[in-house]
């Protein structure tokens, strides 16, 4: 148990370092730097930046140092929680990101929770009642979830909502709350807005998990031990839940562990379509403007949050299903 936990923690740490290096490389890839982009932007407005000023700006942001030193400088500050100043907004990065990171995680976690709570019972139901109406309905849901990329689903829902219900679907807050400070009323308003994006995000994963659960449980249900249990007169519900469901849970659980990064990824693009105040739209802006500290911080924090989220969901599953820690991961 402790060994497994230690292994997971070391792996999570390595993943975080890998993410930070990748992030830094990505941000450094574009030819030119933020100062070039900034100057070009000013020039399009008719202002001129002298070479001396440009040099001073580069020095201020440390852009004149070798890449490895820049990475070291960035990381040494990141570790103490100083993510630098957004060059685009001229404000500390943490301030620019603000609540957005937590909102991203709120949406992704809601989607994860939805997937867990929907996929498991539906998967069990459609295996036990194979070829019933409910099974076909679940299969249909599975096909839809499989075939429609979540941003397209968001787009289609948004259009249908607008066309037939006259609603403006999207956003995470009603207009009167979007700028308001946090309060119970605002939190309740958020709770009312989260389900739609969470459903959009969760659909594909749920569809996938239902299929996995159904296939594994169907395999298990044909095993002789199930017949034995029935022959001994154990109630049907007890028979199914106690033995085959537990056996079928393992593949289900090990595939759900990779769901969280996928959901976080999806939330970025769905946020752009639905206009959610998560880090998605901010990341796109930052990347276009080559605002390396802001974009880097977003990718890094998203990556680290994802690793932590995955770890938490792994530990939860381990608690539910002790066999995972014995067998390790496929």
């Amino acid at each position: 148990m402790l060994i497994y936990l230690a292994r997971r923690l070391v792996l999570a740490a390595i993943t975080c370092i890998a993410i930070s290096i990748l992030t830094f490389i990505i941000i450094r890839l574009p030819p030119g730097d933020f100062v070039d982009a900034y100057i070009a932007n000013l020039a399009s407005n008719g202002s001129v930046v002298s070479a001396d000023q440009a040099q001073a700006m580069r020095r201020e942001y440390g852009l004149d140092q070798p890449v490895i030193i820049q990475y070291g400088m960035w990381m040494s500050r990141v570790v103490v929680g100083d993510f630098g100043v957004s060059m685009m907004w001229r404000r500390p990065v943490t301030e620019v990101i603000g609540d957005r990171l937590w909102l991203t995680m709120a949406v992704s976690f809601s989607a994860l929770f939805l997937t867990w709570t929907i996929a498991l019972p539906i998967g069990i139901y459609s295996a036990v009642r194979q070829y019933s109406l409910g099974d076909y309905a679940a299969t249909l849901l599975g096909f839809i979830g499989l075939a429609i990329p979540n941003f397209l689903l968001a787009l289609i829902l948004m259009y249908l909502g607008f066309r037939y219900l006259g609603l403006s679907v999207g956003g995470l807050f009603s207009p009167e709350f979007s700028q308001a400070p946090w309060s119970m009323a605002k939190a309740w308003d958020l709770a009312k807005h989260v389900p739609l994006p969470a459903c959009v995000l969760a659909l594909a994963g749920t569809a996938h998990q239902i299929r996995i659960m159904r296939a594994n449980l169907l395999d298990e249900l044909r095993r002789p031990y199930v017949v034995t249990a029935r022959a001994k007169g154990i109630s049907e519900l007890h028979t199914v839940l106690k033995y085959p469901v537990r056996a079928a849970l393992n593949p289900f659980a090990s595939s759900i562990a990779y769901l969280f990064p996928y959901l976080v990824s999806g939330s970025i693009i769905v946020s752009l379509v639905l206009g959610l105040p998560t880090v998605g739209p901010l990341l796109l802006q930052a990347l276009v403007a080559q605002d390396m500290f802001l974009a880097g911080t977003i990718v890094l924090l998203l990556g680290i949050m994802t690793v932590i989220g995955t770890l938490v969901s792994d530990l939860l599953l381990m608690w539910i299903e002790p066999r995972i820690r014995l067998q390790g991961r496929a």
Binding site: L22, I26, A147, Y258, A295, V307
Partner: protein, 367 residues
């Protein structure tokens, strides 16, 4: 009698034949195979099937609604389209289109249209159908036009080419990476295996879309359409290889312990011979199945990136670029036909998934 005949057929059939027979039992997969082949045929003959030059803009026909081909008129069978006339509403400044009754545009097969190179080689201007002696302004707009007055139908057809082939290219690259690394991992085991497995775990626990966005945004603006195309292919395959590597490694590990592999080893066969002659045939179908399940993910990746404006850039035409025009509810409420590009995306993903499922079931003909 018939039973023993089937037995004989089964006994003599090659692995490929067995797989194919088993695959044919899966009706949905068979239909999906048909759908996919149709899509690739459309992609190959895209310019022939298109009607209007997909790049030709005309402000006078901005957001023209879809037109239908009328097969009959008062004189009997006479396929035609009614010419439309755009009138600008002076209050809202919106273009509205009314049929121009006097003008009937005759639709003919194998009409002359814009010039293109069939298969990129043969210059021609024949199209499957079009308007007889049509003016450049006239055309058949089966799926309406976009803001710049470009024909959505023709753009959709031509977009098939890039969207489908970028998937193939991406999968080829992923396959190469996946088979190499997965094979090494499964064959050698030990610390090499551990390292490769950890790398895969790390890659899989990174949220991919922010990563792709970062990589795609890093592509210089000065790059040509072709350069961006290849760069995007590389980006999407960098993430896709992990699943393939996992499948290949799993098969290698399972097969290494099989009796026939040990027998071949004892008989003194070299490692290359064992892999190519004995192991490869028995997991080839698994790889094909994994590939057909990986393809839709690639297509969605390209579509998502282009949709965000970080993938392919106009004048390239792909489904993602077409969907980019449909990003906004205001635009969609006025021109809902722009959402049509969602249909082929959904259809192709569905077909590839069914095909992959069928192939995966068929991959193990003795199972």
């Amino acid at each position: 009698m018939s039973a023993s005949l089937t037995d004989d057929r089964m006994a003599q059939a090659t692995q490929l034949q067995l797989t194919w027979w088993r695959f044919c039992r899966h009706k949905l997969a068979l239909i999906s195979l048909g759908v996919i082949v149709t899509f690739y045929v459309i992609a190959i003959f895209a310019d022939f099937l298109a009607i209007t030059d997909p790049h030709a803009t005309d402000a006078r026909r901005s957001y023209m609604p879809p037109q239908a081909i009328q097969l009959f008129d008062a004189d009997g069978f006479n396929p035609h389209v009614n010419g439309l006339k755009g009138v600008r509403d002076l209050k809202t400044f919106k273009m509205t289109f009314a049929p121009d009754q006097g003008r009937k545009l005759k639709v003919v097969m194998f009409a002359h249209g814009y010039e293109y190179n069939l298969f990129g080689l043969i210059p021609t201007d024949r199209h499957l159908f079009g308007i007889e002696g049509g003016q450049p302004v006239d055309g058949i707009f089966l799926l309406g036009t976009d803001q710049l007055g470009r024909d959505v139908y023709s753009r959709l057809i031509v977009a098939t080419r890039i969207s489908l082939f970028i998937g193939l290219a991406g999968v080829t690259l992923s396959l190469f990476l996946g088979v190499m690394l997965g094979g090494i991992s499964g064959l050698y085991g030990g610390w090499v295996d551990t390292i490769i497995q950890r790398v895969i775990e790390v890659v899989r626990s990174i949220p991919t879309i922010p990563l792709w966005m970062g990589l795609a945004a890093a592509l210089p603006n000065t790059w040509s359409v072709t350069q961006v195309y290849f760069a995007i292919t590389i980006i999407i395959s960098l993430v896709g290889w992990t699943e393939l590597a996992r499948v290949v490694r799993g098969r290698f590990l399972a097969l290494r312990e099989e009796d026939f592999v040990i027998a071949a080893e004892l008989a003194g066969a070299g490692q290359t011979r064992i892999i190519v002659r004995h192991m490869l045939p028995s997991f080839l179908s698994h790889i094909i199945a994994a590939v057909s399940l990986a393809l839709p993910a690639m297509i969605v990746s390209e579509t998502s990136l282009s949709f965000l404006g970080l993938g392919l850039r106009p004048p390239a035409i792909s489904w993602g670029i077409l969907l980019q025009d449909a990003q906004n509810v205001q635009v969609l409420s006025g021109a809902p036909w722009l959402l049509v590009a969602a249909a082929p995306v959904i259809l192709v993903i569905l077909a590839f998934n069914f095909l992959g499922d069928g192939l995966r079931d068929a991959a193990d003909p003795y199972g």
